[in-house]
Symmetry: C2
């Protein structure tokens, strides 16, 4: 039987993680295990952990922390007890001195006793709310990864970390832009309300059809691009700050948590 | 001229901090510089900073981080550029090995180059919203410090830190309890929605008239005690976890930030 997004939309987080662990799902995770929160990830050596946690605390819109593993432990106990961040994401990125070295399907051979994994909120968590409110989520409609852009918005630096903010974009019909703001503002720990509405040039984006991460999507006449802070922001910080070693998820290839999207709604 | 809460209610945060720095205001800060956010504080040696920041990340209801100073710097640049955490709070607490050693009015002589100050959200920030919604704030009405209780609710441990949650209490008329929930939920980074509504025994409080910190307030017939997570929680962690050295604010004697309460509203 072919495994499709549709067949996994109603699956449990645990079942989807098991498929991913077995190598049976290697694509992006948008639309899988609907209702379960998904998480961005960055893994760093203990020596860099304080600087990153401070970077996250100073930039909570881009880097809302959902869970942090104990040093050397691959288990995200808060959001998915029993899971293993070394195997349960479909695609990883290995970074050395800020350079992308590879995109393996697991990181068993890269794991070390001094590593700490930071799990960061993902805007996929509010997409159900957008859909429920009647707003389109174009990348789901088109079956592609969400478009993400490296903007000119600078994050507050922290220790050795600095970098610009990455934002995801969804085209919203003019009449639904306010709804898109209010229904995502309810979820502050998964990026919350948008960072920017309208002209991409205002945040340093030259060509909206050429995202820096993910896939381009159609913007129809009468639609406004709306930008939300994105958990790929730590990868921009890795590129700029060049820690000797880091592992992240591959953009769009998220960790699927047991926690539900609704756990992160303030209302 | 006598300085009163009333005379400082409409003062700027900067002006109130200046009075405090000059030793002209040494009491608790409830009701001062209305509209400005107030902050709890804990200062720790760099060696303990990661464990505490992780404790805060794992317990965001009790320890929402508003600002963290750079190592050795007393300036909270995010919430009050130019301020000095060594002089700008009316009363401090000095802790050694988890024991309270004194309550000085400044900490100039205690400052060290390895110290980090964590500024933590305070429920005073949503009290204007309660008042605007027509709900009483009894400790303001009675001119005393808010009552705070050490509960039996355990925080998630992090590194060497563990402890139970401290909660503040406000008596709310039965008909306004729902309003008290919704209007404080808008402020997730200053403790947000209540942790508990009703029977104090349920969270381990034996005598509601004997708070562990602050002052008792009148609970009228027809009112329900409503409990919010409190930024004195780090002091309970200090008592249990016994770091060699720590400085905190004295309960109720807060840092008054330039940031406004409204900066922390998600709507």
């Amino acid at each position: 039987m072919t495994i499709t997004v549709e067949s996994l939309a109603r699956a449990s987080a645990r079942d989807v993680r098991a498929l991913i662990r077995e190598g049976k799902w290697t694509a992006h995770t948008s639309g899988l295990a609907l209702g379960h929160a998904q998480a961005n990830m960055i893994i760093l050596p203990q020596d860099w952990a304080y600087d990153f946690l401070l970077y996250a605390a100073r930039n909570p819109k881009a880097c809302p922390i959902l869970d942090v593993t104990d040093v050397g432990s691959p288990e995200p106990k808060v959001i998915a007890p029993g899971a293993d961040v070394r195997t349960d994401l479909p695609r990883y990125r290995i970074w050395r001195d800020g350079e992308l070295m590879g995109e393996p399907a697991d990181i068993i051979s890269e794991w070390r006793d001094d590593l700490v994994a930071f799990m960061i909120g993902c805007s996929f968590s509010f997409e159900s709310a957008l859909i429920d409110a009647g707003a389109p989520v174009r990348h789901i409609e088109e079956g592609v990864n969400v478009p993400m852009y490296l903007t000119n918005v600078q994050c507050l630096p922290a220790g050795r970390f600095s970098g610009n903010m990455v934002m995801s974009m969804r085209p919203i019909p003019h009449g639904q832009v306010v709804t898109a703001v209010t229904c995502t503002a309810r979820f502050p720990s998964v990026h919350g309300a948008p960072m920017h509405i309208g002209d991409p040039a205002e945040i340093g984006i030259r060509d909206i059809n050429r995202p820096d991460f993910g896939d381009a999507v159609t913007i129809n006449p009468g639609e406004t691009p709306v930008f939300w802070a994105c958990g790929v922001t730590p990868q921009a910080a890795v590129m700029q700050s060049r820690p000797p070693f880091a592992i992240t998820h591959a953009p769009g290839h998220m960790f699927i948590a047991d926690k539900r999207d609704s756990d992160y709604a303030v209302f």
